[in-house]
Symmetry: C2
Subunit: 396 residues, 2 copies
């Protein structure tokens, strides 16, 4: 009996390890501490997912992205289908192998970038046709093709194909758009090839309208998908409207599954959204800002191009343990940026990713200890307190 149980253990363990599931560990108000188990490993939530648009987190080696604490990356279906092509990546062994990242990868459905980047797009009930922003070649995306591409890429978490309703939209526009996305979600589910440890997330739409968000949630809940995202926010509505919408729309999604807020955001967005029950985030902000001389710190956001840093031998953020902060001065980072050196973009990107991961880890700790409110108060006070006083500039 005891021997049989032992012999059986590896099988049960494997089952536990590879089944896709969300484990809720603690709550503090609406904030949730959790863990997502996937075929490619565990994701501690709330989690921030760095964006690896074109099979690379811009400027970073994947092992260094992992060093910052990232446990999952986001890849863009739109970019990868255009270049180098999903079939090509599949022949080369899938996206994980192609870009040398063995932890989970979430891919978006391509819909958002079709709307924001492509030319001459045409939307019908069937899907979207568009021309590539790179070379004008014609492409098509539909729920079925998006599922196929994400399958070819080998995504751990596949996103349903949807239309991101623009803001502002009338209630009628938002309803029509949301209902088409829900029909597309059903087609996405039908086309999705289920594999142990992999998942398809449905995307809630409905703009800022509570009744539409509810209708969307009900339709998604019927599909019984392993995770959900809140779509159609962070599209220009501003933080207050985003928070007001999250106040009612997050609770509508099943509590036993992860909830992902797409394309968000600034550090204060993350804090506010975690307090409203969000578990996953992605945003280009830390990486894009890193290439544009911006550094996120515990004392707010700094522009390292500013001459005030020219003679400053202090670290960018004295509370950060990343290489940019422990091995270099603000003066050096400023110099690299002024000289247009690649290393400036690399170090600031690294720092920003580390800052974001530290923020998530701090929030997870605060939720575990039931002090998320106090954490948020301290966070805002420090951000508003502003940077340390500048060092005197010396003209030679």
């Amino acid at each position: 009996m005891a021997i049989a149980a032992c012999l059986n253990a590896p099988t049960r363990l494997k089952k536990l390890m590879t089944e896709f599931r969300y484990e809720l560990l603690a709550t503090d108000g609406k904030a949730r501490l959790g863990r997502i188990h996937t075929a490619h490993g565990v994701i501690d939530t709330p989690a921030f997912m760095p964006v690896g648009t074109a099979a690379t987190v811009k400027g970073m080696l994947p092992e260094n992205v992992a060093d910052t604490g990232a446990q999952i990356l986001l890849g863009n279906t739109y970019h990868l289908m255009l270049r180098p092509g999903a079939e090509r990546i599949a022949r080369l062994g899938g996206l994980h192998k192609f870009m040398n990242w063995d932890k989970p990868i979430l891919t978006d459905s391509g819909g958002y970038q079709v709307m924001s980047l492509s030319k001459l797009r045409k939307i019908t009930e069937d899907g979207v046709t568009f021309k590539s922003h790179i070379d004008g070649r014609k492409f098509a995306l539909s729920p079925e093709r998006s599922m196929e591409i994400q399958h070819l890429l080998g995504s751990t978490i596949t996103m349903a194909f949807d239309e991101c309703t623009p803001f502002p939209a009338t209630e009628q526009q938002a309803a029509d758009s949301m209902r088409m996305s829900m029909r597309w979600a059903k087609r996405s589910k039908d086309a999705f090839v289920n594999r142990e440890g992999y998942a398809l997330y449905g995307i809630q739409q409905g703009s800022v309208f509570e009744n539409l968000r509810r209708e969307s949630s009900e339709k998604l809940t019927e599909l019984d998908l392993p995770g959900h995202s809140v779509g159609g926010l962070a599209v220009g509505e501003g933080q207050q409207i985003m928070f007001d919408t999250l106040d009612f729309c997050v609770d509508m999604l099943p509590a036993n599954k992860p909830r992902y807020l797409m394309g968000v955001g600034k550090p204060s967005d993350l804090v506010g959204a975690v307090m409203r029950g969000i578990d996953q985030f992605d945003c280009v902000l830390p990486t894009r800002s890193g290439r544009n001389a911006q550094g996120f710190t515990h004392r707010g956001t700094l522009n390292l191009k500013n001459g005030r840093h020219r003679d400053d031998d202090r670290p960018l953020d004295d509370q950060c343990n990343c290489p940019a902060c422990t091995k270099y001065s603000r003066a050096y980072l400023h110099h690299l940026i002024k000289a247009g050196e690649i290393l400036g973009a690399v170090l600031l990107t690294w720092h920003n990713l580390a800052y974001y991961q530290d923020l998530m880890a701090d929030m997870r700790e605060a939720i575990a200890e039931g002090r998320m409110d106090a954490f948020a108060r301290d966070f805002h006070a420090a951000q508003e307190g502003g940077d340390i006083d500048p060092m005197p500039i010396i003209e030679d």
Copy 2:
């Protein structure tokens, strides 16, 4: 007595460790295996020094440059004096601390870049005045100011201030230029602040004229400097004339001191120059080529932008252990380059630096084992053999 000897040991050891000296370990024909001891550590020779123009080896973290095997970097006086300024770097703790590199640094004298990059330059016996290529500000360089700047930077190896004689030059032009450089070498020595483990190198000039190279060497030998370089080559004369000149000019320099060939070169240049007695090299080629899609391999130089690599899942160079070759395919490198991704430049730079360091390590081993001729034959055969056959391209 025994106890006294023990107590004394650390002092003697420290003395041995910090004194700047060249140790000749073996010869094979004219090729020399050696070791340079400096205040910042040991340099195994023949050595290749990656170029860290503006206080960064472009695209690389310094720890990763060290990972390739580099034991010394080169910094450019001209670039650093203009931006961020030598006095500023000194206030920030010196170049080593500023750029987070604790091994030896060699700085050039600034003379070469003044000639190739600056505007409205004017040369007199005293020195050079010029306008910055960055913002047009006026600067001056002289033997004394060059020594001061290199001292402010904290260079392990300082180069004498010289004029790099252009090619072609008449014998009279070459003689006049060389003699001024020799007067400047004397002034450089007088201005150089000697410190334990640091060194000033003199630069041999004389273009392709044997009598002038001899005269230059004699004048430098009188100064009794701890090292020498061969200047005025790799300035457009081509490999054959460079080798023909090295055939006579290297032996003229004292054999008990290191000999450094400035600004060289291609892999085949390095092999030929090592066989003519050169111990140190620097060149932007591996780093600049890395940013321009070029990869140096055991089978010759490849352009990774070429579509032939698009579906190639094989490594760039199967004999290389760098991350670009062990973790990624040619198809991925090609994709990064086509997409204009920073990581493409980073990985190819890393590979090229690893290739150069591996080449130097292989030559050191060949010299130690007395088979440098055979090594050179095999090297040329492999280079001329060309790349592996391309993989079929699949059009989607």
